[in-house]
Amino acid sequence: MSAESVPPLISAQLNYLINHFPLLVKIEQMWSGNKYNPGILDRFTLVIPYCLDFLRWDIIYDSELPLSAPDVIFGAEDEAFHSFVLRGGEERGNVRSAKNCLSDWNSKDPTRLMVLVQQLRDLYMSYQRRRVGEVDDDRLKFEISTIVFREGIEMHMSSGFDKPEEVKFAVPLLDLNLNKMVPGCPWRHQQKIYLQVVYPVGRKYVSAPSAPRLKLGSTSELKTLFSIEDVKLPPWLDGMCMAEYLPHLEESLEKQVLEAVSLIDVRRRFIEALAFSFGRPVEADPVFCRRATFLAASGAFTFLVHFFISTQFPKQQPVLMLQSSQHNNSQGAPIKSPHVTEYPWSPRWEPSRMAERIFEFLVEEALNFKRQCNEAQLQH
């Protein structure tokens, strides 16, 4: 059997999709539908983010006919989406484009698959919006009427035989370009924070509607700057609606994000202060300043000191880890110390004081670590 490979025309389109799609799209699996050459991969499951969840769509190319347009198999619960695509969605113009894209397919144009997926996802968004709009629930109708104008809001109606009907909203928060707030930002995808709001549907007999389920979500790369797990959501008061709730949340969130951005500089000053005692860092994260590594020596014993700095710095002290440059374990990897967090620290100290105290602590700790390294090496 030959090695597995994707035919060049298909792989060009896939690569373009992965690298240029505005959201983080992944290929979950690839396989071959070819009878005689099972190494030619022409089928893929794409995982496309939607409404803080994922859509799994199978893209079916035919390696026997590499010039022809691919076919798409949607998720099992989206059978009705077909006719929505066929009729071109709500707006006529929108529909045409998705069909046009397929009817004059040009396999040599690497952008085609991305355009197709983008158009189908847009259609899916309006399809779900229509489904949610058809739900007979007064409270939901009211919520939709007040927030539907928010840009980028996504909705999803989930129903199944064994699940209660629910309507999910993913509301993008903060009208800020987070990528622009970080100097030298390496993020390829636009970072966003979303609030997920989940309403149960159709419990008409409930007199006082319960609070919806709320959860914050964010694009994955954002957590190097700001951890949404640390955000405490304000309480949802009885009889509240999203339009009332969101401004408060956004206000407090904006403060926290701005603070997180300003903390980058605090971390940078700390790393600069460390350089006075330890010398130039061997390695440091120049954008978010979340980690730095210094070379240190205690007599003839040389070792590396890794600093892991959390987004909560200076409230949370950095985690240290020592790594010997002279001792290897039985697998040949350098011996490392466990994470060290027990050392003198106060968030109120000046960065230079923090650096001095850590240096003093390490003078002692280096001897312990050297002894541990020697013992560990003697054992094997």
Partner: protein
């Protein structure tokens, strides 16, 4: 146009088997057309239950034949719109004998769910009013467009067991959606005798083309061609000798009401053939024993 809901879709075992075989032996995705008829059936209710049942009449689509294009996109474009010219070319004069009731798609290693294109093709086919055909035995004259879709797929995961899955759908133009339908496989055998009561095959025996392999234009190969024709007619006469007057044409009497009279005759022919085969194998046995004897003598 009327949009009658089908009760089920019936297909004979051999037709389904040969459809799956065509799919399994093709290198990639295949599609094709389904022919047959749609019939209104009033089932004989033998129970003395007098409760009124609204399901007293059934509409059943019966697939009697199919045409496999051997490839994909054979009568539609890549966004799933039916191309009338290609369709007419594909159907040829078959439609004079049968009604086009739908189409099928066979794709390897995919989920058994209709794809975007399959949905569009079916919708486009069902919109073609000039393709609609009359429903047989209908209480009032009713026409139905080609709305049957049969999906054949092999599972994407399983590598060890060779399986093919299939599912049938009816496209409902009024609801713009697929409705899954049960497939009733009509087979020969005691368990299915009941089915045959209401099953009326109408497809003639398929033409068995005798390919001579040469075009009439090439003069040089004429001798060769004649030789082959002689061979073919000799083979045929050999076959006829075995069949003792039973020619292929008679076989189609085996279906339908007069079948009983002919089965006895055919069984007789088979038992005679078996006896001949047995004596032949005995001859072979004896002669190979002799050969073995001579062989051991030489050694």
């Amino acid at each position: 146009m009327d949009d009658l809901p089908l009760h089920k879709i019936a297909i004979s075992g051999p037709t389904l088997a040969s459809m799956i075989q065509r799919f399994a032996s093709s290198p990639g995705t295949v599609d094709g057309l389904l022919f047959g008829h749609v019939t209104h059936i009033t089932p004989s209710n033998l129970s003395d239950d007098s409760s009124p049942s609204d399901s007293s009449t059934h509409v059943v689509a019966t697939i009697t034949g199919f045409l496999c294009s051997g490839t994909t996109h054979s009568f539609y474009d890549s966004c799933g719109l039916v191309e009338p010219l290609s369709l007419r070319r594909l159907v040829g004069d078959l439609e004079n004998q049968h009604s086009l009731i739908g189409w099928f798609s066979g794709r390897r290693k995919t989920n058994l769910r209709p794809s975007l294109r399959e949905f569009s093709v079916t919708a486009s086919l069902a919109c073609n009013t000039h393709l609609s055909f009359p429903v047989r035995n209908a209480l009032s004259p009713t026409n139905l467009a080609p709305c049957v879709f049969l999906l054949i797929a092999s599972p994407s995961q399983d590598q060890t067991i060779h399986t093919h899955e299939y599912r049938a759908y009816q496209f409902r133009t009024s609801m713009d959606s697929f409705e899954p339908k049960s497939i009733d496989i009509v087979n020969i055998g005691p368990a299915f005798r009941g089915h045959y009561g209401s099953f009326s095959p109408n497809s003639p025996f398929p033409i068995l083309p005798c390919e001579l392999g040469t075009s009439p234009m090439s003069e040089d190969q004429n001798d060769d061609c004649l030789g082959r024709m002689k061979q073919v007619s000799k083979d045929q006469s050999d076959l006829d000798m075995c069949a003792e007057g039973f020619d292929v044409g008679i076989l189609n009497r085996l279906m339908g009401s007069e079948a009983v009279n002919y089965t006895a005759g055919l069984e007789n022919l088979y038992s005679k053939m078996l006896i001949k085969l047995e004596s032949l194998s005995r001859l072979v046995e004896k002669s190979s024993a002799k050969v073995l004897e001579q062989f051991s003598c030489v050694n």
